[in-house]
Symmetry: C2
Subunit: 364 residues, 2 copies
Amino acid sequence: MNRILRIDPDNRLAVVEPGVTNEALQQALAPHGFFWAPDPGSAPWCTVGGNLACNASGPHAVKYGSTRDNVLGLRAVAGNGESFRCGTRTTKSAIGYDLTRLLVGSEGTLAVITEATLKLTPKPAAARTLRATYRNTAAAARAVARIMAQAATPCALEFMDALALKLARDHQPGAGVPVAEALLMIELDGAPDALDSAVAAVEAAARVDGLVQLEVARDEAQTRALWAARKALSLAQRSVTQHKINEDVVVPVSRLPELVDGVRQLAERHAVPIVSFGHAGNGNLHVNLLPRDLDEIERAYAALPELFALVIALDGTISGEHGIGVVKREFMPLALPAATLDLMRGIKSAFDPDGILNPGKLLP
Amino acid sequence: MNRILRIDPDNRLAVVEPGVTNEALQQALAPHGFFWAPDPGSAPWCTVGGNLACNASGPHAVKYGSTRDNVLGLRAVAGNGESFRCGTRTTKSAIGYDLTRLLVGSEGTLAVITEATLKLTPKPAAARTLRATYRNTAAAARAVARIMAQAATPCALEFMDALALKLARDHQPGAGVPVAEALLMIELDGAPDALDSAVAAVEAAARVDGLVQLEVARDEAQTRALWAARKALSLAQRSVTQHKINEDVVVPVSRLPELVDGVRQLAERHAVPIVSFGHAGNGNLHVNLLPRDLDEIERAYAALPELFALVIALDGTISGEHGIGVVKREFMPLALPAATLDLMRGIKSAFDPDGILNPGKLLP
């Protein structure tokens, strides 16, 4: 049962059961002029409960915050069997420990969420898309930092590396996907007559040394054409292999060039295709390993610890929104000091003393 | 020692020691074109550590989020003696329990923060101020809900009730503070040529039945004049009494009229002046009891439990940003179910098993 319990426009909130899909929620909110900021690529299938469990938020987090920033309160049943509620119906509160944001991203290991009060965002009236290509990733990363340093924050700021572009081109030869070392997709939203100045500001920020081409979509058709490369990518990857290993590492924006270069070296050293793309404004890249046979699968898994070590060395972390689950659990000690993990274990014990919730996940 | 360890514009972050004052931080950030979103009225004296401990954020939280939304990571020493770090240097992460936001608002009861990595916001180039008066609080609250339901979110949306206006008028007779049942101060920021449409949208939303007057400041002098009432209020209250009891309750925006009416009834029943004003966009009102002698002080403290009961009955909560500390501790069971408090106690035990950090605060 996908249930939306209440939409309350006056208070900019919605109360939902966690089983509702993200897309069903967005469709229910649209007539009220609102959306819920998190909208991962999997929106048609992923549930709001899943978004909450993994703090999974998608491309618009760069402007509207992650899932954690867009939840006000929860009802849940802790592992100790107790039902509880936490949070408020307001956007401000200072009454004790923030259990709401603690549960977001806890991957179901502390409590089973039974109801969520979500913070809504008014839908902007218009949007504008830009696409920029660069001679190298360093130039693209410099553009990202400059774009994020001015006040017209884009609602999406996506990156694709050379291999991602090649895959998209091979998959959709007629779609006009450019040849470049690095590409940025930039989307701005706002009031229609505010967008010209926002586009001008972002365009100025994006024009760094190393820019190859910058295009601004003038209408709906041009917008669709510019996004074609990014949209084609999911299917393009699937056409390469059925064995995609999907990582979602995060590094500070200024370290993106080192990440992309490092990933390229990894791909060469282990002789396995690796594509890098994703939410550059948050420094959150999907680094997808695309092994095509058993040998490559073996080499891909051998490359993973090096990828995570690289990310940690760049002051980043091993997951932006996919979470830890089973497969990254063994890498947690690489990402977090022992004292931090011990405190997490203490919290786990307080909520779930018998370890009955999602055992074997998240904590090593 | 007020120390700012690092300002990193490329990654939109600053690393600070918690003893730095909010104002010193803002001054250091200004040349880089950034600010830190939290800026309570006490900015010249309050420390960033204090802001973090109480999740205290001030008027701009309505657009830029509360303190919790503007911190990326922390270093701290838990009550168990262990140093640890948590969070990331990026705006997205999904690696285990969010200890960073758990510490924010924990009032020093879990750990001593030794270093904070703060998320910065680019300073908008321009701002515009509107002032609207209403025949009653219900009309003002309707305007607040309508303003918050459109996409041009103000960077401040402040409310003053009739008594707050009277105090400001008495204190500064020549400042042009209007006579009204309810007043809204609205500030919009953004790119200079985007502000006209934003002001128009907000003006349209503010024009509800019951509007008395709506003024838009055309220049710096008019802006100062419009803000005079709000600015005069702190000193005005002090001129009434030295015994101000400063509450900061929160209710959903749609319940603001019931809150203000209820507060007025409380003031009559207990025969003590109570002034209501504050961050209406967040539903966060400063409800200040102003007893002038010992009898009134006694009656004011008698009124407090009724105020908190009223707020809870309106689906609100007892503190938006001042926190619980000692004085509101006994009211926590009113605000939160026993199961929620038990989980908080479990977290306290995990971080501070011997109860050495800020004993007697926050948890009943």
